[in-house]
């Protein structure tokens, strides 16, 4: 008998996300740290989401489960696996149908996506050869600043002026930041320099794919307020604010695709 529930699971390099929808709305969400084994990651995050829905006992109860993931990673027990690019596009478009450009800042890569008026993907570019500007980079910066992500994300908002970070590589950027901190340069100014350097990368990727309003940021780094602010200033365009957690866009898109395919 059909349960009326559909799930999407997004196995990322750093975090794994799950979203459960029924025919009308999102009914459950969960995010966990990714394990080495993508199947274990997927099961763990889905089980966490399932606990929020009393009508579902296990993964087998979904009418359809769509998996997605980083690179060639798949959810082995999913009914279908779909590219994360498509899932992010659908997820963002579902939240705001006027989105035409997306920058997805994940744990280990950056993607820019151009969206058609019907919500399908038009074009994309990726930077998956370099960790600079990704979640890994911000993790490293938080370590250097000896602070948590939320605190770091607001630090730059207090700065009046940025200290530019000249290194292109995240490894060298870390050394450069350490050096600046040891010279007692204002932390908020350094933080603003970091945000601006990442924003510049995002902007360059968006320009390559064709920048068009409205613009959305997805992925965990979308919760970095300083980055969103820096990108808004560089683009001179507003970034869409989703009611949903932007980190869930891939999983949400997968869940919508699961629902649509049934």
């Amino acid at each position: 008998m059909a349960s009326g529930y559909f799930a999407g699971c997004d196995v990322g390099s750093t975090t794994t996300k799950a979203v459960i929808v029924n025919k009308d709305k999102i009914v459950a969400r969960s995010i966990t740290a990714s394990k080495v084994d993508p199947e274990k990651s997927a099961r763990a995050v889905l089980n966490l989401a399932i606990q929020q829905v009393k009508d579902i006992q296990g993964i087998e109860d979904f009418d359809c489960l769509v998996g997605t993931g980083y690179g060639r990673i798949e959810v082995p027990f999913a009914d279908k696996n779909i590219s994360e690019l498509t899932c992010h596009t659908i997820g963002a478009f579902t939240c705001d149908s006027k989105v035409r450009s997306i920058v997805d800042i994940g744990g280990q890569d950056l993607k820019a996506i151009a969206v058609n008026e019907d919500g399908t993907l038009l074009d994309f570019v990726m930077n998956d050869k370099c960790a600079a500007g990704t979640g890994k980079f911000f993790e490293a910066m938080c370590r250097v600043f000896e602070t948590e992500f939320d605190e770091f994300s607001e630090l730059s908002l207090r700065a009046k002026k940025a200290v530019p970070i000249t290194s292109q590589c995240s490894v060298f950027a870390e050394s450069e930041v350490l050096s600046l901190i040891s010279k007692k340069v204002a932390p908020d100014a350094i933080a603003l320099g970091i945000q601006e350097s990442v924003a510049q990368r995002c902007y360059a990727l968006l320009r390559r794919v064709g920048l068009k309003e409205k613009i959305a940021i997805t992925g965990g780094c979308a919760k970095n307020k300083g980055l969103v602010d820096a990108l808004t200033k560089i683009m001179k365009l507003e970034v869409v604010h989703f009611d949903e957690d932007p980190q869930l866009m891939g999983a949400l898109g997968a869940a919508i695709l699961a629902r649509n395919s049934h």
């Binding site: 690179g71 779909i82 590219s83 399908t120 074009d123 064709g210």
Partner: protein, 484 residues
């Protein structure tokens, strides 16, 4: 052309025929190559293999033969014909280089071949890119040791992997002996190579100055004078002497070679295409370089055309599931050349033409020395690397538009070779141009002969993502056999 219905017994018969083609080709290739080695080098080849380890890499041809898996009939035959010609002629070429070091002219090619001139002077060409490209097609990791050697000596890792491989072969002392070096300014990644080779080996060096604006009378006149200057220099610095009558013969054959090539290219305008991929770019890799101006080049193109005609007579396409006609823009992925088979079988993409093959076809007027020199100048200035990878953006886009229009292209596969800075600078404009024309374009970052930057798996994933998300295509099969 429509794809005819095939019954079970016909299917078994064609499968048997295809297997027979493969095994026959394997036998013919190894027998032919072995015979040439024994005749030209004899037992010395063992010492050669020790002194030049890349010779061992050239002996393992499995990658070539694996590439016909899933490709059938006359298309399979065409590819096998190409590989047979490659193997036997590369062996011949290497043997000549080792046998006559005093006559060897190392030339930094950048796609520019001086074979016709050198052979007419009874000199032996050593094409610097030949070994790295062919070797990396056979074993993608084969050039890693040389690239690492170059970087250990201080060569920047930013330069093209082809340049680094050649330089690494030099640093490791695995370079065959030569008498002189001829360089050119055709390829930014290899410009410094000639200087390095000359310095390291203490050999005389001549640099051909190739004008950036290439398609004018003035450029042709200038370059014809450059070629004369080079010939005079070679006469002074090597045992070679120009035999103008021989050059005329070579160029007459070259003209026939160009006619046969044009016929092959003309076949590619048919939909669906009777041949594809390696038949185009590999024939252009081999014929204008190793085989230029020889009857073997004419025979090769004629054999390929015959395979194409066979498919046309039978009403059969190279790719029975052809859905998209693609141009490969920027260098074809030498180190991952199996990707074209992958795209054919999984996504129905047929590669029709490529930017490193296509150029204006030049027929040389052999009625006088002056007309021959002008013709050679024009021919060389039209070499794709010379007119696309440098000079003005107009050159680049003119060629692009010609290919797209002539071959009715509906998909652009861009080998985004990270080592080529001059071409990388055009990427944004190319994207814009593709958008203006409504042409989907896949930009796949990779390094020409270094699989460590982007592995075969990375490249397949990128193409899969593009086909699934941008083209919204359904795969024809989940897993393509014999992809390593």
């Amino acid at each position: 052309m429509s794809t005819p219905q095939v019954n079970a017994s016909e299917s078994i018969l064609s499968s048997t025929r295809d297997n027979w083609l493969l095994w026959k080709s394997i036998g013919k290739t190894y027998f032919g190559a072995g015979k040439t080695i024994l005749k030209k080098r004899g037992p010395k080849i063992l010492a050669d293999a020790k002194q030049y380890p890349w010779i061992g890499e050239l002996a393992d041809l499995r990658s070539f033969f694996r590439s016909v898996s899933g490709r059938n009939g006359a298309y399979r035959k065409a590819i096998l014909t190409l590989f047979e010609a490659t193997a036997t002629n590369v062996v011949d070429y290497v043997a000549d280089v080792l046998n006559q070091p005093e006559r060897v002219v190392y030339f930094q090619s950048a796609g520019l071949a001086l074979t016709e001139i050198l052979k007419s002077m009874d000199l032996v060409p050593y094409i610097d890119m030949g070994i790295p490209v062919v070797s990396s097609m056979l074993n993608p990791s084969s050039m890693a040791v040389y690239m690492d050697a170059a970087e250990s000596e201080g060569v920047s890792s930013d330069i093209c992997s082809l340049g680094r491989a050649g330089q690494g072969i030099l640093f490791k002392g695995h370079y065959p002996k030569a008498s002189v070096i001829v360089g050119n300014n055709g390829c930014e990644g290899q410009v410094n190579s000639s200087l390095l080779y000359a310095k390291k080996q203490g050999l005389p060096l001549f640099i051909l100055d190739m004008p950036n604006i290439y398609n004018t009378e003035r450029a042709e006149e200038f370059f014809a004078r450059e070629l004369r200057r080079m010939i005079e220099w070679l006469t002074s610095n090597t045992p070679g002497k120009m035999d103008w009558d021989r050059l005329k013969e070579v160029l007459d054959i070259r003209n026939r070679q160009e006619e046969a090539k044009l016929e092959l290219w003309e076949l590619m305008r048919l939909k669906p295409a009777p041949l594809a991929a390696e038949v185009i770019f590999f024939s252009q890799l081999i014929a204008p370089t190793f085989l230029a101006g020889t009857p073997a080049a004419v025979e090769l193109y004629e054999a390929l055309c015959e395979c194409g005609q066979e498919n046309i007579r039978k009403g059969v396409a190279a790719n029975p599931n052809e859905r998209y006609r693609a141009v490969v823009w920027h260098p074809f992925m030498a180190v991952h050349f199996h990707i074209y088979r992958y795209l054919e079988l999984k996504w129905g993409v047929t590669v029709i033409q490529d930017s490193m093959s296509y150029s204006e076809t030049v027929f040389v007027d052999t009625s006088s020395v002056e007309s021959m020199m002008r013709g050679l100048a024009r021919m060389m200035l039209n070499t794709p690397m010379i007119n696309i990878a440098r000079g003005t953006a107009a050159n680049y886009f003119q060629t692009f538009e010609q290919i797209v229009d002539q071959y009715d292209i509906d998909l652009v596969l861009v080998g985004d070779h990270i080592g080529c800075k001059s071409v990388a600078g055009m990427t944004g404009l190319l994207r814009d141009r593709c958008r203006e024309r409504g042409l989907p374009a896949a930009f796949i970052p990779y390094d020409l002969i270094d699989p460590r930057f982007a592995s075969m798996s990375d490249v397949m994933t990128r193409f899969d993502q593009f086909m699934e998300t941008v083209m919204k295509a359904e795969p024809l099969m989940e897993t393509v056999p014999d992809i390593v």
